[in-house]
Symmetry: C2
Subunit: 305 residues, 2 copies
C-alpha cells in the first residue's frame, strides 16, 4: 500500500468511527430522551465530511510500531480528532478568527449560529475524554488514564489553548516589541505542535512502549509539528509569491510575524529540510517498521513544494 492509500484508508476508518461516536445511538439506550438533534447535527458538521485526518493517522501508525491493529488504536485516534475539530469550531468563531468557510463548506457558526458552534465545540472536547475513558480504548485502566492526562496537557493552557491565546494576544493586544523567533517557536509548539506530538506519543502509550521508544516517538512528533508549521508558513508565503509575483505572504500583509518573516524564504526552506530529516532520524530505533511515519514527515515537508 502506498502512503497515500494508507492515509486514505485511515481517513476512512476514522470518519466511520467518528460517525458512530458523535451519533445518537448510544444516547437512547438508557431510555433518556435524545439530545437535541440540531446540536448533534452541528457536532456532525464539525467532525464529519472533511479533513485529512492526519492526527489519527499518526496515532494509528505510531501504535502499529508496537503491534496494535488499526482498530485497537481507533478510539484514541478519534478522540484526538475530536479535540482538533472542537478547536476549529471555536477558532472559526467571529470572536476568534472569524472564518466563514473551511474546506469549502460553511464553518459551524455560519452553518448554524454562534451559540451552537460554542456548544458543539464544548461537547466535542467532552466527548474526547469520554471516549478515552471507555474500555474499548485500551483494556488497561492505567493506559487509558495516561492517554487522558496526556491529551488534557496537550490541549489545555500548557498546549493548544495556551498557544491560541498567545497567537490572539500577539495579534490584538498592544505589545512593546514584535514576537521574536523564539516567541513564535514557543507559540507554535503549543498551538499546533502539542497535539501532533501527543498523537505520536499516544501510539507509544497504547503500545506500552519502553522509555527509549517513547522518547523517540515524542522527538519525532516534536520535529514533525515544527515541520508542519514551517511548511504552513511557506505555503502561505509562496502561494502569494506565485500569484502576485513577489514573496509577500498573507501573514506578512497582515503584519504577522512568522517563521518565514523572521528567517526569509531561503533559510526557512533549508530549516524545513533540516527538521524533516531530524524527524526521520528520530525514528531510527524502529528501522524499516517506521516507513509510514517516515513518509508522513516527507509528506508534511513537501506541502510547500
Amino acid at each position: 500500500m502506498t502512503f497515500a492509500q494508507r492515509l486514505d484508508r485511515i481517513r476512512g476508518l476514522t470518519e466511520a468511527h467518528l460517525g458512530v461516536l458523535v451519533g445518537t445511538k448510544e444516547k437512547h439506550l438508557e431510555g433518556d430522551a435524545p439530545p437535541p438533534q440540531r446540536l448533534l447535527d452541528a457536532i456532525g458538521h464539525a467532525t464529519l465530511g472533511g479533513g485529512k485526518r492526519f492526527r489519527p493517522f499518526l496515532v494509528v501508525e505510531s501504535a502499529a510500531l508496537f503491534g496494535l491493529t488499526e482498530h485497537q488504536a481507533l478510539d484514541t485516534a478519534a478522540a484526538v480528532e475530536c479535540v482538533h475539530c472542537y478547536s476549529l469550531a471555536h477558532d472559526d468563531l467571529p470572536a476568534m478568527d472569524n472564518d466563514a468557510t473551511r474546506r469549502g463548506l460553511p464553518t459551524v457558526w455560519r452553518a448554524f449560529d454562534e451559540w451552537t458552534a460554542i456548544l458543539a465545540g464544548d461537547a466535542l472536547l467532552t466527548l474526547a475524554f469520554e471516549t478515552l475513558a471507555k474500555p474499548t480504548t485500551h483494556p488497561d485502566p492505567s493506559v487509558r488514564l495516561e492517554l487522558i492526562a496526556g491529551l488534557a496537557k496537550a490541549s489545555g493552557t500548557a498546549g493548544m489553548v495556551g498557544g491560541q491565546a498567545l497567537d490572539l494576544e500577539a495579534e490584538r493586544l498592544p505589545r512593546k516589541s514584535p514576537l521574536s523567533l523564539d516567541d513564535i517557536l514557543h507559540l507554535q509548539s503549543l498551538k499546533t505542535g502539542a497535539l501532533i506530538r501527543f498523537a505520536c506519543d499516544a501510539g507509544a502509550i497504547l503500545g506500552r512502549a519502553a522509555p527509549e521508544a517513547r522518547d523517540a516517538l515524542r522527538a519525532y512528533g516534536t520535529e514533525l509539528g515544527l515541520a508542519f508549521q514551517i511548511a504552513d508558513d511557506l505555503l502561505d508565503a509562496e502561494g502569494d509569491a506565485t500569484t502576485v509575483g513577489k514573496a509577500v505572504s498573507k501573514d506578512a500583509a497582515a503584519g504577522k510575524a512568522t517563521l518565514v518573516s523572521h528567517m526569509g524564504l531561503q533559510a526557512a526552506r533549508a530549516e524545513l529540510k533540516r527538521v524533516e530529516q531530524a524527524a526521520i532520524d528520530a525514528l531510527a530505533p524502529f528501522g524499516e517498521r517506521a516507513a509510514a511515519l517516515i513518509e508522513a514527515a516527507r509528506f508534511v515537508a513537501s506541502r510547500n513544494r
Copy 2:
C-alpha cells in the same frame, strides 16, 4: 458544626484547592515557558472569588458517607466546580445569555474579552479531566476512570451542554408549540440536574459504594437537582412579586415557559415541598450520617422562602 459553617468550610477548602489547580506553579516544572498570564488571569477570574461551591459540598459530603476525608474528595470536588465555572464563562458570552455581571463582578468576557472567555472556558473543561486523571484524585485507576466517564456524560450532549442547547433553542428558534411541562423537566434535568446528580454520584464512586447506596445517592441527586430548579423559578417569580406587587416573573416577562408558569405559584410551592421530602427520603439508608445532605436539601428548598 452547623450546616452554614460546614458549607463555608468546604467553600474555603475548594477555593484554596482551585487556586492551586488553576495557578501556574505546576506548569513551570518542566522548564517550559509559562502559559500566557492573561489567560491564567481569566481562568482565575472564572473560578475564584465567588460562589457557594454547592457542588463541591455535595461531592465532599457524599464521599464522607463512605469514610472519605475532605481532602480525599477535594480533587473531584474541584473538577466538578471547574466544569460548573467553565459553563458559566461560556453561558455568559454575548452569543449565549449575554450577561455582563455575575456575583457583582464583570463576567469573564466583560473583564477580558470574548475570545479570552471562550479559551478560559475551554481550558477549565480540559483541566477538570486532567485533574480527575491524577493519582491524588483516587489511588484506584478504575475509580478515576469511572469519575471521568461520569463527569463527561453529565457535562456533554446527554447532560449540561444538551440542556443549554435545548434552552437556547426554545428561546430563539421558531417552534410549533411552547415547551410542555415534560419538555421543561427534561431540559432542566440536563442543564442543571445532571451535574448536581453527578456531584452526589461522585461521592459514591469515590467511596466504592455498594449498588444500593449508589442508587440512593443518585436518587437524592436527581430530586435535589429538581428542587434546585423549582426554587430558582420560584425565586425569580416571587422576587418580582415582592417588588412589583404581583406574581409576574422575569421569565414570564421574557415569555419563557418555566415550571412556575406551567404549574402556578401555589402548585410549584407544593411540588417543591414534595421534592424536598423525596430527596430526604432517598437518604434513608444512611440514617443520621446523612444529616449534612438532608440539611442541603432543606437549604436548596428554602431559597425561595
